[in-house]
């Protein structure tokens, strides 16, 4: 019900916005006037039908179908509307989605998420749904259906740069996770064994975590700059005050707390009876660690990695401020030039990346979860 009301309300807001060029503020175009009637009528019909199907609380499958239908209608309207509006506008004109579109998108996506969670799909189904969604988005982009939108026009000349930023962003987020895991997992095991180390290390790491990211990045710069000037060898492998290295290092530092704390929590979550039994049947310390403690603690450890991945994907944006690359470059360029589309070009992929990472990690965590009922 809520979705339908909100959906109807969002129709009142401008759906698209048409601007004379990339900097000026655009003028809103209402939902029903966005495209010629032969396109907008079926699209609106799909959208409305989908939202109506969403009303059927007790039939989650139909609700999912409804959400998919309304999303399809929404994107169809967006694609057709952009083309139609551009056709009669000037050469530098830009069409971008406006508040109405974003609200409808959020509502449809929420409907989809709500309906899907109602179905309680297993990890495989979720993986399949995710893959399907990504394929759809890829298809949509590949087919050029959205190429009339301003964000796509912003993208076109920067194709190589965006790809580069993407790879850099992945390196920052995943690379720092990898290094943090390499350091943090053994540290977590050590902390689990020696309570004194744990009492000293965990508060220190959580203090590190509280330092605002910009400050952390800032403090890294002189530190690494100094190392770079003192040790030419370090400079040779790219350690310098500005750029990738301080961003990477700051991200690793941020990642340590979730990795170490969750490793400790995971190892601690094992029932004492199980640990006792493992000792009782004569396992060595190492055998216990690798055969019992790590496999049983894995879901909690992975939860730590999930936190890190989502957090780092977001924090990596800030690397853009200190020349570390990644999508942040576009965000801050866009903010400087007050070019909304450029901001979106940086922000949207970041959000998408964080979400995909979160969903993938959730699926992994569920797979490693011991079967229900087998827990003691």
């Amino acid at each position: 019900m809520l979705f339908l009301i909100l959906g109807a309300a969002s129709c009142a807001a401008p759906f698209l916005s048409l601007a004379a060029n990339r900097i000026v503020v655009g003028e809103g175009v209402a939902l029903w006037r966005a495209a010629p009637v032969q396109h907008s009528a079926p699209a609106l019909f799909l959208l409305g039908l989908g939202l109506l199907l969403g009303l059927l609380q007790s039939r989650p499958v139909l609700r999912v179908a409804g959400a998919v239908l309304s999303l399809a209608g929404l994107f169809w309207l967006l694609s057709m509307g952009a083309a139609a509006l551009l056709a009669d506008a000037g050469r530098y004109a830009r069409v971008s989605p406006a508040a109405g579109f974003w609200c409808l998108l959020v509502i449809c996506a929420l409907l989809l998420a709500d309906a899907l969670s109602q179905l309680q799909p297993g990890p495989r189904t979720r993986a399949a749904a995710l893959a399907l969604t990504l394929l759809c988005v890829a298809g949509l982009l590949k087919a050029g259906l959205l190429s009339d939108l301003s964000i796509a026009q912003e993208f076109a000349p920067r194709k190589a740069a965006v790809l580069d930023a993407f790879i850099r962003h992945l390196w920052l987020a995943f690379g720092s996770l990898g290094l943090a895991a390499l350091i943090g997992l053994p540290l977590g095991v050590l902390c689990h064994r020696h309570s004194r180390l744990r009492e000293a290390l965990l508060p220190l790491l959580s203090f590190l975590q509280t330092i605002p990211s910009l400050a952390m990045f800032g403090i890294m710069i002189p530190l690494l700059g100094w190392i770079g000037t003192q040790f030419p060898a370090a400079q040779a492998i790219g350690i310098a005050g500005i750029g990738f290295a301080p961003a990477f290092l700051a991200l690793v530092l941020y990642s340590l707390l979730p990795v170490v704390a969750n490793t400790v929590a995971g190892l601690e979550s094992i029932p004492p009876a199980v640990r006792d039994a493992a000792r009782g049947i004569g396992m060595t310390t190492w055998q216990r660690l690798f055969r019992i403690e790590i496999p049983l603690g894995l879901p909690v450890i992975l939860t730590g990695l999930r936190i890190v991945l989502v957090q780092n994907t977001g924090l990596a944006v800030i690397a853009g401020l200190i020349g570390g690359g990644g999508f942040g470059t576009f965000v801050f360029q866009g903010l400087n030039q007050t070019a909304t589309d450029l901001i979106l070009l940086g922000a949207l992929p970041t959000v998408a990346l964080a979400m995909v990472a979160a969903i993938v990690m959730d699926i992994l965590i569920e797979i490693t979860q011991p079967q229900r009922g087998s827990e003691t």
Binding site: F207, P212, A215, G314, I343
Partner: protein
């Protein structure tokens, strides 16, 4: 050790903010040849106050709204919205705070406004999540006893449920405030007057002294705020015998 460290850091922070010139000797080696050592376009004190005010307002507003919503969805009549609210929080928390800030600009323009809105919106999530967790883990025996001795719904909420959920809610407020403090720093890229301005100015003019003093002040604020909240939580938890 802890007992000395805390006031020492607080005094250091205060001194840095109020008399930054006194620390010129410390930052001078990092400043470019002949360049300014201490940021002086706006006083560090007013930047700090503005920064803290932003965080305070956003966090307070987020607390009010988030706790209110959590109360609604934990009442019988709001239970229908609970799964949805969980979906929203789960998805919302994957949004990077910086992205929320960046996305607020197209919608609201530059300045304090979008920063405040972004801080508020992002701050809702941890508080909401923790408030729900806190309210729904109050022992059913205690709630049954409260009903049994004749407390009304409102009395149960105010006298029993909220006080018992308080430590968990405070934990959420702490997360939220720390994130807000960090995000407000970045808010200076959208022209909000915060301490981030000092760091950004340092980055733009290659003046490491600026970067360091800004970073140091913000870092100290964060660490002290975190510590203060943790102590508050511990004190309250201890009183509850938890």
């Amino acid at each position: 050790m802890r007992t000395y460290l805390r006031p020492a850091l607080a005094v250091l922070l205060l001194a840095l903010v109020v008399w930054p010139e006194r620390f010129s000797w410390l930052f001078a080696p990092f400043a470019p040849q002949g360049g300014p050592v201490i940021y002086s376009r706006t006083s560090l004190l007013s930047l700090s106050l503005n920064h803290l005010a932003l965080v305070l307002i956003a966090t307070l507003a987020a607390t009010l709204v988030a706790v209110g919503m959590a109360i609604l969805v934990t009442r019988p009549f709001g239970a229908a919205f609970r799964p949805l609210s969980r979906t929203v929080t789960n998805i919302g928390q994957t949004f990077p705070p910086v992205a929320v800030l960046a996305l607020a600009v197209p919608a609201l323009g530059f300045g304090e406004g979008p920063t405040l809105v972004a801080l508020f919106l992002y701050g809702l999530l941890p508080i909401f999540e923790n408030a729900i967790a806190g309210l729904s883990t109050v022992s059913p025996t205690v709630l049954d006893a409260a009903r049994g001795i004749g407390l009304t719904r409102l009395q149960r909420l105010i006298r029993i449920e909220l006080p018992l959920a308080l430590p968990v809610i405070l934990n959420g407020i702490r997360l939220s405030a720390i994130i807000a403090l960090g995000t407000a720093t970045i808010g200076s890229t959208v022209a909000a007057k915060t301490l981030g301005e000092v760091i950004i100015a340092g980055l733009l003019t290659n003046n490491t002294a600026f970067v360091l003093q800004g970073g140091l002040i913000v870092g100290l604020f964060a660490v002290l705020l975190y510590d203060l909240m943790v102590q508050l939580e511990q004190r309250i938890s201890a009183r509850l015998g938890l």
